[in-house]
Symmetry: C2
Subunit: 313 residues, 2 copies
């Protein structure tokens, strides 16, 4: 079946209206990907705000109501909460319904959701590689996923039409879709995301604890490199706690490799091995160029501010 | 003497027309900060390009010619080359002239330049906290320093009018100026810049060496955090080699602290100490907020692409 033939979803339930969930609700409506959008959130303040923003057709705090007659559910809650939400909703879903999610870890999420699936309900886990440092329903926007990757990790034996339905939703929102196993996803993300976040959180903490250098100096002179780390380290604490608790093995494995390499680099600094340092600093440039070439970043050197217009160069 | 009374520089020599040097030449002309601008560069290809760009009044490869009748020299060469350039130029400077530089390390640069200073020539080292990931004369632009900090580290006993002259140049280019000792500068920059760069270079290298995860996967899914590290790790290799060779002690000290903290964080991951992780991830947010509040970054979540216009939120 060609992807273009995927019909819009009837009733779509988005659970957890934070940055990602509220962006999905906005995009699904804007691009006509579902006939009816239900927003499910346990937090009354979030529900109130979602009503004000008018980004869903129905808003409820009741999981049963969210599951009733629903075709596709996308869980956008922290990884640690996936199991409980699936337990509350999955048994109430009709046969043929599909559960998906947007968790940053896949192995543990599959393990948490799968036991609660009734006969005839499929699981197609997903992970959109998109985000900002902001949280909450106000932070979302409908083009968050445009041109970004979304990884799907359907367990073996998942019906093809369930995968196509979720793929269609993401492609409808402008995302590029790739599928892989949950285990491989978790290793890829450990190196491209989880360890970088752990390191960013760590150095911002180290800087905050210095006695010889004041925090005001760290903040003032942050443009020299530190600033990019603080941007990463401003991500949602609960989401990131859950990621590390749920992808422990892959994170510790990649962190071990990072530490070995860092020890070698520190040794080159201590012994003034300029050649080793230069060689190391040269080869990393090629990766940067590939990322810009692939359209996953702009080449413009904004460094925290838009580049000014032509100035007589 | 009030700063507004600082007269423009007569003859300004900029040595090394890379990103920073060519930005100074452009800004000095645009804002009328010198009556005559001499570009000095040892590389014939760079000189040719500077002539084509027409961003200086004279272009020469001859240090003696660059020093003749010059009032202010700004050395914009890699830190490891400062001593040799100062040796070639300083003895030819007239009494009352001032040598400055833009090196990212100050203690070793002062040590490299000071022995070559003749009587009556002052040294006012500087370090603008501004840059992009690009190098070369084409990369510069006249507003690079606008709203950015520049740290001056005049050795004790430097005449006040020499300091004012260099301060006037930077303030004329729109920079905010702060003075401190070379030693303190080197510790501040070790944590805000040098260690962050070392870590960024390191993780990009670690990712490139993985067998289980392909480079193509690392590049595709870089938007999940890794991308910001590659931006930093794309900086000029020669410049950064020199920085690490010249600020070894402060870098190793700060790196030691970073490693201690990282070991504690890794332990929290291994033992599933969610409370410790959450506490750590929460306190780093405050530093980010201060940086945005101070205008050293924008709050807009661009994440490598401009935020789209209003989309029906």
């Amino acid at each position: 079946m060609p992807e273009a033939a995927v019909p819009p979803i009837g009733r779509l339930a988005v659970v957890g209206l934070g940055l990602i969930g509220s962006s999905i609700a906005r995009a699904a409506r804007r691009y006509g990907l579902a006939r009816e959008i239900v927003a499910v959130d346990a937090d009354e303040a979030v529900r109130e705000r979602v009503r004000e923003l008018a980004i869903a057709d129905h808003v409820t705090g009741d999981a049963a109501e969210g599951a009733r007659d629903t075709d596709v559910v996308v869980l956008c809650v922290p990884v640690g909460a996936m199991g409980a939400v699936a337990e509350a909703m999955a048994p109430r879903l009709k046969p043929g319904a599909v559960i998906s999610d947007v968790g940053s870890v896949k192995g543990s999420v599959v393990a948490a959701i799968q036991p609660h699936l009734p006969e005839g309900v499929a699981l197609v886990p997903g992970h959109p590689i998109a985000g900002t440092e902001y949280s909450g329903p106000d932070a979302g926007f409908s083009t968050l996923f445009a041109g970004r990757w979304c990884i799907l990790t359907p367990p073996e034996g998942t019906p093809e039409d369930a995968v196509l339905r979720v793929r269609g939703l993401w492609e409808g929102m402008g995302a590029l879709v790739e599928t892989m196993s949950p285990e491989h996803h978790d290793r890829v993300l450990a190196i491209t995301s989880h360890v970088p976040h752990l390191i960013a959180y760590n150095i911002v903490g180290t800087a905050a604890d210095l006695e010889a250098v004041t925090q005001s100096e760290v903040i003032k002179f942050s443009a020299s490199g530190f600033r990019d780390f603080t941007r990463i380290a401003a991500s949602d604490p609960t989401m990131w706690r859950d990621i590390f608790l749920n992808n422990r093995d892959a994170v510790l494995e990649m962190l071990g490799r990072f530490n070995e390499d860092l020890a070698a680099l520190a040794r080159a600094v201590r012994w003034s091995d300029g050649e080793a340092l230069h060689a190391m600093f040269t080869r990393t440039r090629a990766i940067r160029r590939s990322i810009v070439a692939l359209g996953q970043d702009t080449a413009a050197p904004d460094f925290g501010r838009p580049r000014p217009a032509e100035d007589g160069k």
